[in-house]
Symmetry: C2
Subunit: 441 residues, 2 copies
C-alpha cells in the first residue's frame, strides 16, 4: 500500500515539548519490546511495515522537520516538503503530485492519507489495507475510516453514515458537538472522524487541476504560498457525494494533549527526574538540572529549554490559552543543533546571547555574514573558515567581527560556544554565500 503521513506542527497544546520547530512526533517516549525507545513517527512507520513490508510511505511536512525525519527514519521514506504552512488541502494535493511526478506512481493507484500522531495498534494498520482495497473498487471517490465511539466526546468530528453496514455511504458530517448532541448522533450510528481516507491519485490530481489550474508538482511547489489556507475536510470531504465510510472498532487515541500523550507513555519518567509518593503522574525533563516530584497526583510535568509546565491532566485541553509565543531555545538543523544558554537584552546599547552548537562529523554551517552582530566562537575541534581557511583545536577562539563572512566545518563531532554581541540579535540577520567545501576536504 501507499501511505501519505501528515506530519504537521503540534502547536501549543503540548507546550513546552512542542513549538514551531520541535514536534511531539519525534520525541522518543514509547518503549519497544527490546527495551529501547521509539518516537510516534518511528512507531507508526514500523507498524505499517509490519503489516505490509512493501508499503511505500511518504511524509508530508515542512522543511524544519526534515532533519528529524532523516535522523529517525533514514532514507526509506519519501518526503513531500511544504515550502510554508498552508493547511491540509494544499498539503495533500502537493503530496499527491509528488507521488505522481517525483515517484512515478500511476494515477490509477490508490493512496491512503493518515495523520502521523494517533496511538494505535496493528488492527488499525490492517484497516488501512482494507480502506485501500475498498477505494480501488471505484464505488466511491473517497473512502473514510470511521471509529466506533466509546463515549460521547466533544473533541471529535462525527461522520453519520446512511446505514450501520461495515461499508456505508456517508449521509452527513457534524463538527465537534456538545455532549447531548454527541449522544444523539451515536444513537443514529455516528462514527468519529479519524482523519484517515483513501482515494485514487487521479481523483485528487483532478481536483487540483480544477481548483488551482495545475496538478504539476513543480508548479504547486513554486506557487505554494499563494494556495488557500484550507483543510481537506472542508475543501473536499464535506462536498463530495460519492463518499463511503468503513467502520473501525479498535484502539484509537489522539496524542494531541498532555492527558492522552502521558496515557501512552510506557515509563512514568523520561529524563533526569525523581518521582516519589506520586499517583498517575508523568514527568518529562529535558534539562540538565534535576527535577523532583513529591506526593502529587494526576499531574503531567514537563521541563524543556522552552519552559516548565505543571498541569492537572484533566485540564489539558485548556493549555493553549495560557502559553505565550517565544523564541525557540533549541533548534535542530541538517548540520546538527543549537541550544540557547543565556541571553541579556539591553534597552540601550548592545545585547548578548550565548549558544552551544553541535555540528555533526563532515557537516558544516552555511558560509554567512551578519550585519548587526559580532560572534565569538570557542572551539572544541574542527576546521574553520573566517576569511582564510585554518584548522582549530579545542580551547581555541574565533572572533567573527560584524560584516565578516564565515563558516565552520566539523571533522569529528564539533561542539562550540557562540557568544553573539550586537545591536539586534535575530536569526533573520544572515546573508548566505556559496563556498566550495570540497576544496578543504
Amino acid at each position: 500500500m501507499k501511505v501519505i503521513l501528515l506530519s504537521g506542527g503540534s502547536g501549543k497544546r503540548l507546550w513546552p515539548l512542542s513549538n514551531e520547530v520541535r514536534s511531539k512526533q519525534f520525541l522518543k517516549i514509547f518503549k519497544k519490546e527490546d527495551g529501547s525507545h521509539e518516537s510516534m513517527a518511528q512507531r507508526m512507520y514500523r507498524m505499517i511495515r509490519e503489516v505490509d513490508d512493501s508499503a511505500a510511505v511518504t511524509i508530508a511536512t515542512s522543511e524544519n522537520q526534515v532533519p528529524s525525519i532523516k535522523a529517525q527514519l533514514g532514507d526509506s521514506v519519501g518526503i513531500s516538503i511544504e515550502p510554508c504552512r498552508r493547511d491540509t488541502f494544499p498539503a495533500i494535493v502537493l503530496a499527491a503530485a509528488y507521488l505522481h511526478d517525483q515517484q512515478g506512481v500511476d494515477e490509477n493507484e490508490t493512496v491512503i492519507v493518515c495523520p502521523v500522531d494517533p496511538y494505535v495498534e496493528s488492527d488499525y494498520f490492517r484497516m488501512l489495507e482494507k480502506l485501500s482495497e475498498q477505494a480501488s473498487k471505484g464505488e466511491a471517490n473517497l473512502v473514510l475510516m470511521g471509529v466506533e465511539p466509546t463515549y460521547p466526546s466533544e473533541k471529535y468530528g462525527y461522520i453519520i453514515p446512511k446505514s450501520n453496514d461495515p461499508v456505508a455511504m456517508v449521509k452527513t458530517f457534524k463538527e465537534k458537538p456538545d455532549e447531548a448532541a454527541a449522544e444523539e448522533y451515536i444513537e443514529q450510528g455516528a462514527l468519529w472522524n479519524s482523519g484517515v481516507f483513501a482515494f485514487k491519485l487521479s481523483y485528487v490530481l483532478g481536483i487540483a487541476k480544477k481548483v488551482f489550474g495545475s496538478s504539476d508538482y513543480q508548479w504547486l511547489f513554486d506557487h505554494y504560498s499563494t494556495l488557500p489556507k484550507i483543510s481537506f475536510d472542508y475543501a473536499v470531504v464535506e462536498k463530495e457525494e460519492r463518499i463511503q465510510v468503513m467502520r473501525f472498532k479498535g484502539q484509537w487515541k489522539d496524542l494531541g494533549t498532555w492527558n492522552t500523550l502521558t496515557e501512552a507513555m510506557s515509563d512514568e519518567v523520561a529524563g533526569n527526574a525523581v518521582i516519589a509518593d506520586c499517583a498517575n503522574t508523568h514527568v518529562i525533563n529535558e534539562l540538565h538540572i534535576p527535577l523532583v516530584a513529591l506526593g502529587v497526583t494526576d499531574l503531567a510535568i514537563a521541563a524543556t529549554p522552552d519552559g516548565i509546565l505543571v498541569i492537572d491532566k484533566k485540564k489539558s485541553d485548556n493549555l493553549k490559552d495560557y502559553v505565550v509565543d517565544q523564541r525557540p531555545m533549541v533548534e535542530k538543523r541538517d548540520w546538527g543543533l543549537y541550544k540557547v544558554l543565556d541571553y541579556g537584552i539591553k534597552p540601550e546599547g548592545k545585547s548578548f546571547l550565548t549558544k552551544h552548537l553541535v555540528i555533526k562529523p563532515g557537516q558544516h554551517i552555511s558560509y554567512q555574514r551578519h550585519q548587526n552582530r559580532s560572534e565569538i566562537w570557542t572551539i572544541v575541534d574542527g576546521t574553520i573558515l573566517d576569511g582564510e581557511v585554518r584548522s582549530v583545536g579545542q580551547g581555541e577562539v574565533a572572533f567573527i567581527r560584524q560584516g565578516v563572512k564565515h563558516a565552520i566545518k566539523a571533522d569529528t563531532e564539533l561542539h562550540f560556544i557562540e557568544v553573539q554581541v550586537g545591536d539586534e540579535l535575530t536569526e533573520e540577520d544572515v546573508e548566505r554565500f556559496d563556498f566550495d567545501w570540497s576544496s578543504i576536504d
Copy 2:
C-alpha cells in the same frame, strides 16, 4: 538590646532554593507596605529596629553568606564569621567573644540569641526585650522563650516548666515527641522551644574558658575547626540548673519547610510564571524560561538553577530524603556572582564548562592560576589582567592558558562568559596571588 541572629545553612528541606551556598533567609519573598519586597533577614532586622531603634544586631554566620548580608543589610550589623560549620555551641561562643573582644561589649551586658528564620510579628520582638530585662536581673543564668503550643506538634522540642507563671524555672526538656506524648506534655503546661534565649556575656565566656581553655576571640577563631560539633541546647541549655522560661503567646512560625515558607509568602508567584485555575499553590521561578501551572491544588513549585521541585505542601517534611548532593549552579561572591550555564563531562579527554560572571563596579576577582584548565573569557566592558595589564571592551576575548596568572577588574558592571576547557574542572583548582590593584586605578 543586643541581639545575636543565628544564620545557618538551611540544608535540603527547601531545595532547590537553598543549598550549601544559597540560603532561604536572603530570598525576597515578603511584601512590605510600600509594595517592595524584603527577605527574612531584612524583615527580622527591620522589626527589631522598629521595637528598639538603638538595638545592636550581630549575625553569626559562615563566610559565604557575608556578601548577601552586606548587600541586604549594609554595614549596620556586626558579622561574626564562622571559619567552618561547627553547630550552635561553638557559633554562639565565637559570637559572644566577638561582641566582647571586637565590639567592646561589657561582660555584664545581656545578650539575646535568636534564629534568623522564624516568621513572627512585633509582639515577638517586644518579648525579646522582656527576655533581656529578665536575664539582667540575675535570677538565672539563662532565660528561654517558650511558645504556647497551638497543637500537639511532633516537629518541635518541648520545655516543661515548674509552674504556669509568666516566668518559671525549667523542670526538664523533651525532644520531638510523638503526638500522644506531645498532648500529655501540653496538659502539663509544656511550651515549644523556640531556640531563643538571653544571658549575660560573662556566663557564656566563662563556659568557653572552662570547656575550651580560652574565651579569646582570636584564639577561638584560629582553633575553630578543632571545636566540637555540638549544639548549644545539648552542651549548655539542657545541663543548666539555674534556667528560666518566659511564656510567649503570639504568632510564631518556623519557615523551614515549603509548607510553612509558602504560607508566609505575600504573592502566589515570584518570577516568570503564570498560574491559572489553581488553589493554594505557590510558584517561585528563578529561571529565565517561563513556567505555567494549570489546574493544580496545594502545590509548592520552585525552579532555580539548581533544580525543579513540584511538591504537595503536606509532604514538605519528607523532601530531604529525595534531594541529591550536587555542585551549586549559582554562587554569590564579594565581587559579584557567577552562574553555570552548561557543562559537558567527557569520560576520556577534556571537559568543558560555561559560566556567566557578573563583577560589580570597582570590584575584581583574585589574581589566580589554574593547573588543569584553560579559560576563554568573552568580555563586555572592564579592565583585564593577563600577564600584562590592558583594557578590553565589549566583544573582546581573553584566552587564559592553563598555568597563566590572571585577574579581571570591572570599571562599570562587567558581564563576561567564561568557557573552561580542561582535564579536571573544579572550583578547588585555583592558586591565588597578591596584586597591587591601586596601580591600575
